[in-house]
């Protein structure tokens, strides 16, 4: 499965990549197709370029570290492609 990291930037605006997942690494659970970008829609730009959307799966250990309630439980969230960087598999 493809490993990705959510960009850790904190720009202003109507961003739907939750702050608690920024900078975290997960795997793509499935690709969902292309959707209108909420960062443009929120400001009335209805014809902007569409963005690919993915369901990304994170482990609780990755998100909360030692404070995780149960490290192997997971969180799946929908993240737009322009918020994801590929993470190469380290051999």
């Amino acid at each position: 499965m493809d490993k990705v990291r959510v960009k850790s930037m904190m720009p202003p605006g109507h961003v739907r990549a939750p702050a608690y997942l920024r900078g975290r690494t997960g795997v793509i659970e499935r690709a969902l197709g292309e959707f209108a970008n909420p960062e443009l829609l929120a400001y009335g730009h209805f014809n902007g370029p569409k963005k690919p959307l993915y369901r990304v799966r994170f482990t609780m250990a990755e998100i909360w570290g030692d404070a995780a309630e149960h490290p192997d439980d997971t969180i799946d969230a929908e993240i737009y492609g322009h918020w994801l960087d590929p993470v190469p598999d380290t051999p």
Partner: protein, 222 residues
């Protein structure tokens, strides 16, 4: 029982003296406060749409009625079908929007994903950013679903939250939290309870609770 107030004197004349209804609760105040900015905006837009002939008041009333008529019974019917019809279950897990539309519960422009509970996996739905909810199948969300407490705690300590709902999961069960952050909506397909072999689809649907489709509960057992 909340309506038993044996320590109150329910003498008829007292209701008015104490400002209480006959059931022993305070009367709801009249909504005499000024309209909010958004209420004024809604009325203005609605009246303009009617004035310009785009919609009629009857169409607006019918739409509100249709929205209010949606209830967890829709979702329960979908779950019961999936429990009894393996081909439908496959279609539901592959494309829940299309499968629920098949049963007359169209989700409109959004996309629905069904996530299946098994012996090893328990799914629970949250929307940390707002209150996204599969209204076509479950109706309006419960108030707790929209609270900051549910939204923030379900991603941080889901097992503790589920325990507060009365659902204690063993360590061997993996909890999968689904945060509806964008264009998808989610419904949990709970596991069919044991001892329901041979039950009709309709009787099975009566076992499916709203919370079992959010993931904060399990279906009832017969």
């Amino acid at each position: 029982m909340p309506h038993d107030h044996h320590d109150h004197d329910h003498d008829h004349d007292d209701f008015h003296h104490h400002g209480m209804s006959p059931s022993g609760h305070p009367y709801r105040a009249d909504n005499d406060e000024p309209l909010s900015y958004w209420q004024v905006m809604e009325i203005a837009v609605r009246e303009l749409l009617i004035e310009k002939g785009h919609v009629t008041p009857a169409e607006i009333a019918a739409q509100i009625e249709a929205m209010d008529a949606r209830s967890p019974a829709n979702g329960a019917a979908v779950v019961a079908r999936a429990w009894t019809d393996p081909a439908f279950k496959q279609r539901l897990l592959a494309d829940a929007s299309a499968a629920s539309a098949e049963m007359g519960f169209d989700i409109g422009g959004l996309r629905l994903i069904a996530v299946e509970n098994t012996g090893d996996v328990h799914n629970v739905i949250v929307c940390t950013l707002c209150s996204c909810y599969p209204r076509n199948l479950l109706g309006l969300p419960p108030d707790w679903y929209k609270t900051r407490a549910y939204r923030s705690r379900t991603v941080r300590e889901p097992r503790k939250v589920l325990a507060e709902f009365g659902l204690d999961l063993p360590d061997t069960t993996q909890v999968r939290v689904h945060d509806s952050t964008a264009d998808m909506r989610y419904i949990v397909l709970p596991a069919r309870p044991a001892g329901t072999e041979g039950m009709s689809e309709e009787d099975l649907a009566a076992l499916v609770t709203r919370d079992s489709m959010i993931g904060t509960g399990l279906p009832k057992t017969p």
